[in-house]
């Protein structure tokens, strides 16, 4: 029971972190039609910026400044890079974001080196928040969940209660018409791209110290985020939310469990060499592949994703 509760909490906090990344990616995709391969690189930049800022002025200013800075960088990349490439179609745009991911990784190598940096949880949050049976649940995990939920609330409020949110929701279907009604849609695109990058960076700020801040972190989380938006349904925020939580929980449980199929095989009377080879693989060893298996199953049985539309 203790194991179950702790894993569930860890799974949800990881899932919320994934949603912070996938929400920006899916909004950018459905508004601009750009699958941003560099999205997870902004997550990495968030972590490194936060590390750098926190060594100078501490964690709390970094929590605000790092996402803002990354948001500005993202907005500038849209304005002066992506927008110019846009007129040549989607393939050049994809190549642009692909190259951008490599570029950001090399810049990180140049500035911070190839090994992990010492980006730590702030001391003020390095304690046990509450008792789960025999163990203390870390306060930082609670903080991560609180930040994620606050972000979720802010995103929902912006999309449903503000004029720019209304423009964004309308531009999801007919961006040209929104512009013909007198709204500066290119500027809204820039804000959405910058905002999406800022959200990814915020995930990096609070995830970089909970996990590891290293140059490989973008690639590690990037592919999972793509799985999330495919499983949730391209362009669906609600779908991305459900898929983020599901994948967060599934992966956390799988990593923590050391079940294997050996006993099951023995019970059904299969004891050959092959059974031993497959049976001794533990579920935890299998965990990294699980999201991709889920994606393949979704693509076979429900190609538009959980909440995606047929035409997207």
């Amino acid at each position: 029971m203790e194991f179950f509760l702790v894993s569930l909490l860890n799974g949800v906090s990881y899932g919320l972190l994934l949603f912070m990344l996938s929400s920006g990616l899916t909004l950018i995709f459905s508004m601009m039609g750009v699958l941003n391969f560099a999205h997870a690189s902004f997550y990495m930049l968030g972590a490194y910026f936060a590390y750098q800022i926190s060594t100078a002025v501490g964690f709390w200013p970094a929590l605000v400044l790092a996402p803002l800075l990354v948001g500005v960088v993202g907005g500038a990349i849209e304005r002066y890079g992506l927008r110019r490439v846009h007129r040549y179609g989607h393939v050049p745009e994809l190549l642009f974001t692909f190259g951008l991911a490599y570029l950001i990784e090399e810049v990180v190598h140049l500035i911070w080196g190839r090994i992990a940096v010492d980006y730590r949880i702030p001391e003020a949050l390095d304690f046990g928040a509450f008792q789960v049976f025999d163990s203390l649940y870390p306060a930082y995990r609670v903080f991560m969940m609180a930040v994620s939920i606050a972000m979720l609330g802010a995103l929902y409020w912006t999309l449903t209660r503000t004029r720019i949110g209304l423009i964004i929701r309308a531009a999801l279907t007919h961006a040209d018409m929104v512009q013909a009604l007198g709204h500066n849609v290119p500027r809204v695109f820039m804000l959405v791209f910058g905002g999406g990058c800022a959200l990814a960076a915020l995930a990096g700020v609070i995830g970089g110290n909970a996990f590891v801040t290293e140059p490989a972190m973008a690639a590690a989380v990037g592919s999972i985020v793509f799985v999330v938006i495919v499983v949730g349904g391209l362009g669906s925020l609600a779908g991305a939310f459900i898929a983020s939580l599901a994948i967060g929980v599934i992966q956390t449980f799988a990593v923590a469990l050391d079940w294997s199929l050996l006993d099951t095989f023995r019970e059904v009377g299969w004891t050959g060499e092959a059974a031993r080879a497959i049976g001794t693989i533990k579920l935890s060893q299998f965990a990294p592949v699980l999201p991709y298996i889920l994606m393949v199953l979704i693509l076979i049985f429900r190609p538009r994703g959980l909440l995606g539309r047929r035409d997207t």
Partner: protein, 232 residues
Amino acid sequence: MLSVSNLHAFYGKSHVLHGVNLFVGRGEIVSLLGRNGVGRSTTIKAIMGLVSARGTVAFQGRDDLVGLKPHEIALRGLGYVPEDRAIFPDITVRENLLLGSKGRQATPRWTMDDMFALFPRLEERADTAAGVLSGGEQQMLTLCRTLIGDPDLIMIDEPTEGLAPLIVGQVAELLREIKRRGVSILLVEQKLAIALDISDRVYVMGHGAVVFEGTPAQLRENDRVRKEWLAV
């Protein structure tokens, strides 16, 4: 008020408008007639900045419209109602109308209440998603959405297409009301009878250029133009 001269337009490499010239005066209803594919829709899209164009478009005394972005053109006081209606299906009827409003003038010609008074059906459905409206209701919504932005000239593409005869009558009545409030109309219309009935002047297009201009009466008398460019 709106003066278009030597307008050329392109879709990629294909050259679809070959030097269109036309003029719409203040408070006039002007129709663009012609068969499908002669460039009527492209003409108004090019004026609106939605397709790449070359030539001169002057509006309210400024002749620099070609090259501006669609939202800049809209803010100059030009309204556009597309043929496919392009309503925003996932947001409510009221939100669709709110998006049309630009807050450009302190006392606009049209308010949300005006729209609801003209079309009570829109008020009844104000808080439902616009995607579930019928074709006729969507047509009213898309017209109202552009009007609420208070354009001085509105360009409307095929407003009666696919509508029941009763609704077609309502649309024609709305067009007259728009004119009464001092808004000019540039209309693309397939139904000749309606166009001749409500227009002050008409242009007939063929092969990406204007082939006839005159009053509805002049067109009625001109059998040759009607046979060559309009008969199906």
